[in-house]
Symmetry: C2
Subunit: 526 residues, 2 copies
């Protein structure tokens, strides 16, 4: 592997607890493979990982697939029933588990159908057994094994990873990727993030710190990218704003990625005042980046921009890197582009189509569903031919996102296909209505959903969380007055004005922090 030769002394850091170099990484990958082989892991077996973001996770990213085995990255935020379902569906032989998730595992251990061995992960190295029969402790096991593992050659289309996505409906679905796909995705990550003229570049002089979970689409593939670059890597373990800010400051992180919620937490935490954030490049993904949050980040000197993709796409499809022509001294102008999904990265064929799969005009106005082709998209859901067929209808992967493509190639996501509100023959973007409501100074959080309507088909409804100091002082009429100005300017359609606005203490969110509109439609929409 080139970085082991080119950057052998470069550091990999786990919190304040562990620090080693790429030469050691190479040795430990061999040691981990030897240890797993001793536990009985063979070509084609599955190994499940349940840990926070760590150097151990990085070691698994390489060692398990390089053995010809499949790495299951378990979403530890799911309910124990869902974790049980995903483990039994993927069928791991060995589970590596951080002690923090032992209580979860203890609940379901008697129902696990395929697991033969557990390996305990602790930061301290002690091995308290509890109710789970543990075969080894991770660090002892790695250190006690030989680094001279003979990694086999095999077909590049061998499965390397699997994880589960909790989509719109039904049971979690298994998404899997092959070696070929991971390599291509990594190369295109390097190309997309490396070759930007100025803004948002990821290069060999950076310090990388992930702040999205490694179980979620391989932390967007960026740990692979960082390793090929040979940069210093900083793994934060369990996320708390304090830890992230402290590591950013102490280890000098310059390139990170997260969902808007994490960025918001870091910016608003009291400790953030003492952290110099200038030049920190942060890619936002997972959900739309609100302009106000982008502005708050830029005012701290953060180079903020977006990536777009989904579990099924490995995930990278587009980035909102600003071309030279778009760089300006006008922060508000730049933010307009920085919050878009951006432009397709190399090899991505991206189309915006009508329901008959005809391209809609590329005019910055006409919306349609985003469908894509590129060699690193999942070929289907694991053992789920029906969902796979729907995903790939018409030989393009369907994102179920609604977007608008500009003449400059920049893509704007206007809504999820299922969240679009179809009212009187018109499509209203729930996100656009949410954006307008958010601009009222009293609003802390908002969700707009479509509810059934006998006359119009659907009508929008807004579910609003007020800031503490405004509770009882702002009502539905006040918000509607606020919205009228946007209707008059043509920013939203008059059909987008919600019939009902209700106030709640908190919005329902999914395990990865997105608005759970499905459940809210059931709860509030009838």
């Amino acid at each position: 592997m080139t970085p082991l030769v080119n950057a052998p002394e470069q550091e990999i850091v786990y919190r304040g607890l562990k620090r080693y170099n790429y030469r050691a990484l190479g040795e430990r990958i061999g040691q981990l493979a030897s240890a797993l082989a001793d536990l009985g892991v063979e070509f084609g077996d599955t190994v499940a990982m349940m840990d926070w973001d760590s150097h151990r996770y990085l070691e698994c990213f390489f060692a398990v697939p390089m053995m010809g085995a499949v790495l299951q990255t378990v979403n530890v935020r799911l309910s124990s029933e869902q974790v049980l379902y995903t483990l039994n569906h993927a069928g791991p032989k060995v589970v590596l588990v951080n002690r923090d998730f032992l209580p979860l595992l203890e609940e379901i251990k008697d129902q696990l159908e395929t697991v033969e061995k557990f390996v305990l992960i602790t930061d301290t190295g002690d091995c308290d057994l509890g109710a789970i029969p543990v075969a080894a402790e991770y660090e002892q096991m790695v250190e006690g094994s030989s680094s001279a593992f003979e990694f086999p050659d095999f077909d590049e289309n061998t499965r390397a990873t699997i994880f589960y996505t909790t989509g719109t409906t039904g049971l979690p679905k298994g998404v899997y990727f092959t070696h070929r796909q991971l390599v291509l995705h990594t190369l295109v990550d390097l190309a997309a993030f490396g070759t930007t003229a100025v803004q948002g570049r990821f290069h060999q002089g950076d310090v990388y710190m992930p702040t999205t979970p490694m179980f979620h689409v391989h932390a967007w593939g960026l740990p692979y990218t960082a390793t090929v670059l040979g940069v210093k890597q900083v793994y934060p373990g369990r996320y708390t704003p304090e830890t992230l800010l402290e590591l950013k400051e102490r280890e000098g992180a310059t390139f990170s990625h997260c969902v808007p919620t994490i960025l918001h937490m870091m910016l608003t935490h009291p400790a953030s005042k003492n952290v110099d954030m200038r030049g920190w490049k942060i890619v936002i993904g997972g959900s739309a980046l609100p302009k106000a949050l982008a502005k708050a980040a830029m005012e701290r000197g953060i180079d903020i921009f977006c990536g777009y993709g989904m579990s099924e796409t490995c995930p990278l499809l587009t980035t909102s890197h600003l071309s030279l022509a778009l760089l300006s001294d006008n922060m508000d102008y730049e933010i307009e582009m920085r919050v878009t999904a951006g432009r397709a990265v190399p090899l991505v064929e991206l189309r915006v189509v009508d329901p008959d799969m005809n391209d809609v005009p590329r005019d910055g106005k006409t919306s349609g569903e985003i469908v894509v082709r590129t060699p690193w998209l999942t070929q289907g859901y694991f053992n789920n031919p029906e969902a796979s067929k729907a995903l790939w209808a018409g030989s393009y992967l369907h994102t179920n996102d609604i977007g608008v493509l500009g003449t400059d190639g920049y893509l704007r996501i206007t809504d999820r296909l299922k969240d679009v509100i179809k009212t009187g023959g018109e499509w209203i973007s729930s996100l656009e209505v949410e954006d307008v409501i958010t601009q009222h100074p009293a609003v802390s959080d908002v969700c707009v959903i479509g509810v059934s309507d006998a006359k119009w088909g659907e009508r929008p409804m807004a579910i609003v969380v007020l800031k503490d100091e405004f509770i009882g002082k702002v009502d539905a009429e006040g918000l509607k007055d606020h919205m009228k100005a946007f209707v008059e300017k043509g920013i939203i359609s008059k059909f987008g004005m919600p019939d009902r606005i209700i106030f709640v203490d908190t919005l329902l969110k999914t395990s990865v922090g997105k608005l759970d509109k499905k459940t809210m439609r059931i709860k509030y929409g009838s």
Copy 2:
């Protein structure tokens, strides 16, 4: 193709004669394919191209392989007999030929076995037929054809290109590359040139001008890379120092690549004084970059560095991009690293081995043959199983170059395997001896070869070209005195002191400007 969507207005320039944008490039690629199909080109056919570096060549780089046909990039510097051999060996159905090469083609046309049609290329559009029966003129043919060509889907392992390398011995050998290989090579080009921290970066804000022939390993693949980047591209046609310098200045080229000879020509031409070369990134390949030339370039503000590879490797294997730690205010220190072959780019497994294929120590001192593996290496020579077997002996591609690998991963090429002088059991690098002799102020050019010796096996001999003003004033003894200091400092071995030094007016060079040591060994070595 993403750049057609992301950078539709970006320019492609051919000398002062043609200027169009990427949208037009996309249309012209379709038009060219339609026109070639009308001429009878089908999937699997070969189309030969004989042109200077031009927008037309770029169009062929895409249109011909995308049809499923094979593009033969003809080395127009070979003798007419060699061109005849390569055309009959590759078997093109159609030949596209610049009028400048008609005399060459006229000599051999009666012996061409497979060619059915000729297309004439002119800068002026007129179609004078001469002795070659021309089916069409390129520009008229393209403009008169439909852009709506339906490019087929096919296996990625389909051959895309072929060209011939005139190696050490025997007939030219056909080297071919598949779509898969070109795509992987392009992605790694983007990764290697894009992600460098500071020095020698190729990015979306650059202006690209090739100054190596497009017939030679696809101009190192960089026209493909430039197109994916969506940068402005400047094609210079036939190289003259005046044209290159004028285009550099007028079109603002910022990224180029060439052999040392071209760089030397540009730096020493009188017109170069009026050209601002600051920030011009130039990759040097093809032969070793002398430190003195590197220094002359840096003194003009050129960001000079090296790439290493060969026809058989597509070609990129390593680049001498400086890591952040190597950037300094000391030009001489930087030059030491800039003139190396550099570090392996992603996916390249590079080994330096002894004759039994064991790795030699990675200590910056021990030399061995450089052997490589990576997915874009030619799988063999076209219709030449014997040479293919030797190329891939032991499952690694043999570069036939001798090198030394440092602890920092930087590779130094010390000689060609066949040019190493084996004297009394010791291996003497002919390049190192040449380097020492070049440092004598009277020396303009030098070649060191091994000649048979009954006692020692081989002994070094130097063939020297003196600068005009020193002719008759410096003799062999004078040069030997100069060399003694280097022997005393241990820079070269005492066995490296040539037994014979002769003076000539000019050194023999190959068609691509390299020292023709093979012929010189025959001419002077006996």
